[in-house]
Symmetry: C2
Subunit: 493 residues, 2 copies
Amino acid sequence: MAKEITAQQEDYSQWYLDIVKKANLAANSKVRGCMVIKPYGYAVWEKMRDDLDRRFKETGHQNAYFPLLIPKSFLSKEAEHVEGFAKECAVVTHHRLMNDPDGQGVVVDPDAKLEEELIIRPTSETIIWDTYRDWISSYRDLPLLINQWANVMRWEMRTRFFLRTAEFLWQEGHTAHASQEEAVAEARQMLEVYASFAEEILAMPVYKGEKTAYERFAGAEDTYTIEALMQDGKALQAGTSHFLGQNFAKAFDVKYLNEKNKEEYVWATSWGVSTRLMGALIMTHSDDEGLVLPPRIAPTQVVIIPIPKPNEEIDAVVAKIMEELKALGISVKYDNDRKRRPGFKFAEHEMHGIPVRLALGKRDLANGQIEVARRDTKEKMSYPLEGLAENIKNLLEEIQSNLFNQAKARLDQGTHIVNNWEEFVDVIENKGGFAYAYWDGTTETELKIKELTGATSRCIPLETPTGAEEVAEPKCVLTGAPAKARVLFAKAY
Amino acid sequence: MAKEITAQQEDYSQWYLDIVKKANLAANSKVRGCMVIKPYGYAVWEKMRDDLDRRFKETGHQNAYFPLLIPKSFLSKEAEHVEGFAKECAVVTHHRLMNDPDGQGVVVDPDAKLEEELIIRPTSETIIWDTYRDWISSYRDLPLLINQWANVMRWEMRTRFFLRTAEFLWQEGHTAHASQEEAVAEARQMLEVYASFAEEILAMPVYKGEKTAYERFAGAEDTYTIEALMQDGKALQAGTSHFLGQNFAKAFDVKYLNEKNKEEYVWATSWGVSTRLMGALIMTHSDDEGLVLPPRIAPTQVVIIPIPKPNEEIDAVVAKIMEELKALGISVKYDNDRKRRPGFKFAEHEMHGIPVRLALGKRDLANGQIEVARRDTKEKMSYPLEGLAENIKNLLEEIQSNLFNQAKARLDQGTHIVNNWEEFVDVIENKGGFAYAYWDGTTETELKIKELTGATSRCIPLETPTGAEEVAEPKCVLTGAPAKARVLFAKAY
């Protein structure tokens, strides 16, 4: 690696940008706010996608694909939705270019103006519910459990790799149900799916909770969220699941005949995670040497480096090791490039966050052992060649747990039970992390807290954070009015 | 199934539409020319995608993702490319809507006009080569072997499910090489990958060939194609692979330092297949009872139906059969719905093209056997329960071969060696299929043939079709001028 990266302590934002670039995760494009996801970044995203897709299918969902473009009028049909999504968006107004009559190049053909403008989907509730009207007529058609993997676009003014880009990749589940109870259960089930994925695969502990009315998805009755804590003390919303009530069914006139042959509006949910998870992953585990990937999400789990160069003897031993590792389902690469020195390779694989590095030289061979380096703790050890694959498998599991435990300790230490405004401000301005505080239930108070400290309400957690005891007659941390809920506040991405 | 479908003989186009709708493959949307891919259709596409993706990775390619939107000026940089792609396309001109000051709903905000219009990608050569300039500087960066799975948009006036839609899903490979030889070899390798996929998985035999200059991709030096023959005698281009020379490297200034430290332009290829393959698949095997799927592309390979209803005894035997089938990697469903009768289920699974149907009743159980129905030949047989899974596995392989052999016989019989214009016209106007004929090498002749008969040049095949003998001093079938090549002509989708 030619250049080192900025230290986290020095400038966390710059460190993040450096990681994205140096670990070959993404690059800027010439299109405002749109990034290119590079092969290594895309390989990590593919692993996320495949694991999530398996979980969606296991819970009975099927994939489908709906149009990219949404007629402008669709957006206006659900009153809150249009406020949330119809503002900053890409608008298609014409369907043809023509040669520039006055010069080189092409210009928009004024005769090819669309009768109705089309919007590049910022989210697909409207086009999907317009379709569901044709698909649902009786209770026998329900539940309808559909997911879509797609690109979406929101015209963001200030963009940041993965965390906020004009175009991003995501999945959006859109389900239709015969009853409110079933729809709420679905929204909560998908919250659990997201939380398990985040914790088991990304080794990223999260709070599961409910959003306040102000922070809800535009058009939802309830929004559930998983919230993670980044290394710099800021929160990150990593996935959301919405109970949409009958709002979209009413807006798009989707009714069904129930078992008593009576017409009713359908109940809905939607839920999504996006390439934003890539940003969350980076800011949960990585360090000043580069990316750190939990083994379960690493495209390559083990890399083997010959010391100082490949030769016949080393190649033969490596071939056997690779075969044994692959037989255990471990992904492994042999970096046998003769043009680059081991030191260079070590730094490069560290930058890419490969969980385990094996190095094999003459002396190791003589001793029947191999050098093993962990990316997470940077420990180096010698393992016997005998029984290596099984030991590496255990080591990968140990690394996965260690990364989760580290992040969990950070989340726990970063969650502060605050009892008064002074403590609240101290957490938000000095300590960082979550302030768990009573709130009077009004949007005014939320907005005032944001104005005063920059912190937003992240969620009302479904399970009480460790160490928080219930208070009799609790009062709002800002106004002192009787509290309606206890909320995790934080500065957030 | 409530209604039957139109017979192929009666109206092939209507038959196709009926299959798409009744087999739940796709549906119309409110957006002009854009379809919804329904869950069953998407499941078939996912199987295509996964198999192709595996083949791309095995040949050293990596996936990445590039922006959906392309600045208008990019399209003009490659002179032929702009002629081919900058005409009918979706143009984004604004980035904001606002509440309509005069009424309900939203209108385009005139203050949010983009400085430069953006085009929804019709294909991504331009945005990708603009990116490659930053990624390639030396021969060490080559070859660059990248693929993208994406949605693209071409503003088609007359659309048809899967075959021609404004938005469609595809993959586009874009590779960069240090030499012409290597790039040509890559383009031909990917042609082979497409052909093997079509034949091995879709059971769809194809001609591999080269396009004439007139039929080439806009911006290519050579276009390779796989051409299949549909049941109605029309050809279908099922995949193309292009050698792009240095055209895009020159248009986007992508150079590399060779091993002698001299700067050279990079050589390029691109290659793609799309959801069009779904149309090809339908029109290769299906019949008047509905879709027919080769086992290797069927989301469900075997369905089991209890006669007349599920009961404890049947359920127990079915559970064991399913376990054994799954252990052999066979996908199987038990249709134990009590509300629908066997006859209804039979028709429905036939419509969906499930390759093998098993039916199990009291008498079968008593005899230790099960009824087996093949979707391809409609044969019904009894198999002993003992050793069933292994026999079903063999049957699925037999069905796969049978479907390929049937389609191959049709392709062979539908390929006519023609020696004069009368025979040519007879093939195109009466017999259908390919006319393999000598051609003088001029675009004028190609266009004249199209004007006179509606047939287009499909390809100059890489291997001579069976039965064609070489002619000394061959003459063009239309003009009688000395022939430059022997071409497969046909009416085409």
